[in-house]
């Protein structure tokens, strides 16, 4: 005679950046292996709140559903994480879902992470290959560098490391751990190293690596297990060597 098991979900709704935020509560039918994205889909299928009021489907970003696209980062029970890997059975109910707080809100759970992409452009987080002519083969990458670089290349620009960082807030323009780690990745590549000093200079500008205060939340929050604190330490060492010793020893 078991009554169907229910999942109680509270979602913070906001129609636009300047609209007033409100919470809506939903009661969903429990199913095995349910994650937060499935909850949001169920609500979209039948957008009725727990007390029977008709509402609109919730706006949210998601794509791959396997923690490799980076689009579904949000606050779940107050903590930044990927919604696709947040399993309902492991969460305390009612499950509170809200948008990340450190990025401009677009609507409901959607935020604008353009700041991260602009930061990646500023630090030239790429490896220059052919320009107006064929540059030929690049140097070979040693297996050691490949081994070190691979975990860093897993970054999905989800923004969790910025969201949990006490130094990322409206008082400064700190680029955050992900971008610093990308600088390390491209600086360790033999072709990428040709732009090493440019990347380091960019990271010593306003909002650069100096804003890190070693709280080390980033490395705990990273869904990809990227050694972010190690990246920050290594890039820090390269940066001060360039800034403080560069004029002495070149």
């Amino acid at each position: 005679m078991s009554e169907t098991k229910q999942v109680i979900v509270k979602v913070k709704r906001q129609a636009g950046p300047k609209e007033v935020a409100r919470w809506e509560e939903f009661s969903l039918r429990w199913r095995p292996s349910m994650n937060v994205i499935i909850c949001l889909r169920d609500i979209a299928e039948n957008p009725v709140t727990r007390d029977g009021k008709k509402t609109t489907p919730i706006s949210y970003d998601s794509n791959c559903l396997e923690e490799i696209c980076g689009s579904c980062a949000m606050l779940i029970n107050g903590r930044a994480r990927m919604a696709c890997s947040a399993l309902v059975d492991q969460l305390e109910q009612p499950i509170r879902i809200e948008a990340m707080s450190k990025f401009p809100l677009v609507r409901d759970l959607i935020v604008d992470r353009q700041f991260m992409f602009e930061s990646l452009k500023r630090v030239k987080a790429w490896i220059p290959i052919d320009g107006t002519y064929n540059l030929g083969e690049g140097p070979r990458v040693s297996p050691e560098i490949q081994g070190k670089g691979y975990p860093l290349s897993n970054c999905i620009t989800c923004g969790n490391c910025l969201e949990v960082c006490p130094q990322v807030n409206e008082n400064n323009q700190f680029v955050g751990a992900a971008i610093i780690s990308q600088v390390r990745l491209f600086n360790m590549h033999p072709t990428g190293a040709m732009n090493k000093s440019e990347r380091l200079s960019a990271l010593m500008g306003p909002g650069g690596i100096q804003e890190c205060a070693n709280a080390q939340n980033c490395v705990h929050a990273c869904p990809k297990g990227i050694p972010l604190t190690e990246s920050i330490a290594e890039v820090n060492r390269d940066a001060w060597k360039q800034a403080l010793l560069g004029w002495l020893v070149g």
Binding site: Q167, G205, E230
Partner: protein, 218 residues
């Protein structure tokens, strides 16, 4: 942030200076200060002799201002500025590093306030001629005693965590293992300074000189 800038931003240089002054000269002075004051653990006379020795160093004002007061003022002042720009979030993310981030700020401000008061009572009011008897008398005041203990603990904590931060932030301890080792080293320094500091305070309070046996018998 601009990719074309070749000179580091002023905020970069000030941050580095803040980090560096915390260790040198401020941290180093704390070590020197505890070392000199531990003369009290031997005898009142040795304390007075050590104190006199320091009071008569050449270029004293330059050393005091350039090596102690100004770096301390900068480290404390800029530290408050850094604090105001951060937004702690330990309730959402109660991880050890995050707690240290928060406590480092509170211990810093306590140590800064304590050092200001300490300079006023033991340096300014004594006209830079501190003697064992003055300090021992101050220690009889329970409020002074408590503030001394709090100040010693806050300063030691701040130095210990600061050493860990320094080693991580200058990339001297980069790998996870190295950062853990740096953390243990910082904890050791913090505990060692706390113990020595408290022993010195007890020495003044109870006229207790555990190393008096080192003195030649008359």
């Amino acid at each position: 942030m601009s990719a074309t800038a070749t000179q580091p931003d002023l905020s970069y240089l000030l941050r580095k200076l803040h980090s560096f002054t915390g260790l040198l000269p401020v941290g180093a002075f704390l070590a020197e200060h505890f070392w000199s004051n531990s003369a009290a653990l031997v005898s009142a006379e040795k304390y007075n002799a050590t104190s006199q020795e320091l009071q008569t160093i050449p270029f004293r004002l330059i050393v005091e201002w350039g090596g102690i007061f100004l770096p301390l003022l900068f480290h404390g002042g800029y530290g408050i500025y850094i604090w105001l720009r951060g937004k702690s979030n330990v309730s959402a993310y109660p991880w050890v590093g995050n707690w240290l981030y928060l406590t480092q700020r509170y211990m810093g401000i306590i140590a800064f306030a304590y050092i200001g008061w300490h300079l006023y009572t033991e340096r300014w009011l004594t006209h830079g001629r501190s003697r064992y008897a003055n300090v021992a008398e101050d220690m009889q005041n329970p409020w002074y005693l408590v503030f001394f203990i709090v100040g010693v603990l806050a300063s030691s904590f701040h130095l210990g965590v600061g050493i860990w931060n320094f080693l991580c932030k200058w990339g001297l301890a980069a790998t996870v293992k190295a950062q853990q080792a740096a953390g243990r080293f910082g904890a050791f320094v913090g505990v060692a300074f706390s113990v020595v500091g408290i022993l010195i305070i007890l020495s003044f309070r109870f006229d207790w000189h555990p190393f008096s046996a080192y003195l030649p018998t008359k």
